[in-house]
Amino acid sequence: MRSPLSAIHWLAWRDPRRRAATLLRFAEVEADGGRDLVRAAEVTRDPLLRRLFLKHALDEQRHADLFRGRGVALIRGLPDGGDGGPQARWLTPGERGLDDLRVEDEGDAALLAFLHLSEKQAARDFAGYAAVLGADEATRAVFEKVLHDETFHMTYTHRQLRRVAPERAATRIWTARLRRFWKAYLRLASGLAGLAGTVILTLQFFLILPPFALLARRAARKETPGWTPVAPARNGSLEREY
């Protein structure tokens, strides 16, 4: 059965320029996720988890290389080359790395639950992308390779979670799910706040600031390039912020 998101995926991946830009972004996200996993390996006191996290980090680095290689190949194949075009990141579905997680603040169980959900979501997304990339075999092959690893990551995180928190694995996963939901809300809220801030500041820039801009430009015209003496008073007090 086709996923209800298939149409969105198809739309998002249809244009080769956007496809290339998205793959390059995936490369960044995978590399970032890999660095977070390295940190997790450095922080944990559990030797088995350390090895698994390091292996996982190497996988993420390999995925980053795969995505980058395919993205660059796609750009090279474009009629005008180009720089990847507008990225429209927030429109593009995809893995979100570890959501800027502060690994040091997480216990092993919380981290495993979070990783499990992230990998599960990524596996679902990547399977969806591969399904709509029928004509682009090379990109589909990249997703299939990555998907194979994601399945392992999804499995090991769940098994290890049951090992380190046998009684509370399900609770941990639900907590992680709620935290992902909360972070998604925060992302949306901060995006909206940023948008509102930009609108207000833009209005301010055009409606309130013109007289000040005029004064600033007039002052700039009086400045001559070259040396400006430093007033001796400036070598004095450290109490001023200005």
Partner: protein, 591 residues
Amino acid sequence: MNILGLSAHYHDSAAALLVDGQPVCAVQEERLSRRKNDAAFPLGAIEWCLDSAGLQPGDLDAVVFYERPMLKFERILTTALRAWPQGRSAYAHAVRNALGEKVWVRGLIQAHLGVPRRKILFTEHHQSHAAAAFLTAPTDAAAILTADGVGEWATLTVGRGRRPPGGATSLELLREVRWPHSLGMLYSTFTAFLGFPVNEGEYKVMGLASYGTPRFADAVRQVVRRTSDGAFALDLGFFEFHTTARRSYSRRFLDVFGPPRAAWDPIDLETEDGRRYADVAASVQLVLEEVLVDLAAALRRETGLADLCLGGGVALNGVANARILCESGFERVFVPPAPGDAGCALGAALYADRIHFAQPDRPFPDHPFWGPGIEAGELARIAAEDGLAVEALDEAAMLERTAQDLAAGRIVGWMQGAGEFGPRALGHRSILAAPHSAETRDRLNRDIKYREEFRPFAPVVPAELAHEYFELPPGGLRLARFMSGVFRVKPQWRAALAAVTHVDGTARLQALERGMAPRLHDLLMAYGRLSGAPVLLNTSFNLAGEPIVSRAVEGYSTFRRCGIDVLVADGVRTVKRTRATIEMEPEEAEA
């Protein structure tokens, strides 16, 4: 008197602690948070500094921030206003950015540390650079030149400092060049044009420059022209960094220098575009050197002083530093190990101590090792848990085994004592290798550092033997102390030092005095006895996109993920079974 210096919010935040005028510790936030170029308020660094010294925030006599945030905000606002109506996006970006946290530094420090308002002080950005350069240098009187992208308004300053025996220390900035005319921004704009990350990729431009010919030098001289008073000014028609946050160069810039390089596109020097990129890099490098040498020569004539202290991010340009030493007339040039913004944390604290509080001058320990130490036992435990062979060796055995490893072509992760403060690994957090073969360089680039082939690696050599291998001008040894100068490798040694000799026959060497890092010095001598030349390749112990390692566990995780063969932390040595893989037991692999 306990003084904490802080730098934060733009790139490379850091904290440094002085106790009774002497440095106790200094560390960049990135070394603790493990986020490269971490610009966040350096809470981790502050906590570590206070813990290391056994102090509470209440024990601090002053907390000194490295610049004046309101003055900086004034510059940002004024710049946006001057660009009206083009500056709309820059204005929105700057206001949101600054009002979020960056202008409320006093409140931030009060909130985090609980120190009273009167104890919070502010130096000017270039005062901090100047203090970091002059007050850490072993000189009684020196001219000072600082240059970076921008501080509050200043982008370049000249001044002089004096520390008369028994008298009051003075540090005076005389003149400045003001925003938007900036050598740092000039170089950063070319860095962005060449597809490298700004504030990080400037090294790459310098490395690439050696492959090009400066056929665009006249064009660059149009971009940065000399003013009648001996300073310089940018032709702003070539730039957009003062009107938008999106792009630093203008359409006119592209008309002169051609299309920019995309960040993802590898530089192929066999292609026309690849050669153009190298030629552009060579041109901006040449013009930067010309301007700096002229400014330094004029400063020498004006002050009559024999010593020059260089500070600011531009002082990381080792090729320019070497030309200043050779051509400006100064006899000695001092560049601190952390001349960039991180070093301002130390500079701000020193300025407050010596100038503001007029504390007596004290000689500054002439080394960069102010960061966290390592617990070798931690490495032994982790490696043993992972089933790797671990040996705890005494000093002599450790040196002998490591020298043998290096002579056998193995690549060694080397961690000793406290970590370096500043961007360079100077012998306590280094990756070491034999310097003889270009294959070693290629292997390091391919399997360990994952970086461009055109970037050179640096050699380290005992200072007393440096002249045998390198053409050092008078004063060169000092500049090479913290790897701050690029000098020529003697022709007869270039083939034997192929891994550290750049395409133009130069090397950014570190000349190591035994007193600064005795173990590494002894290792060099032991290696010299085996190989005939006590020179090693020394590169920072990190992977691409990661900060230099700090603790043993971070060295270990780096060792496990790349092609490093041997890891040595103090007296503990471990060896990998296979390269860059994580060996799992069958049941673990099924986990």
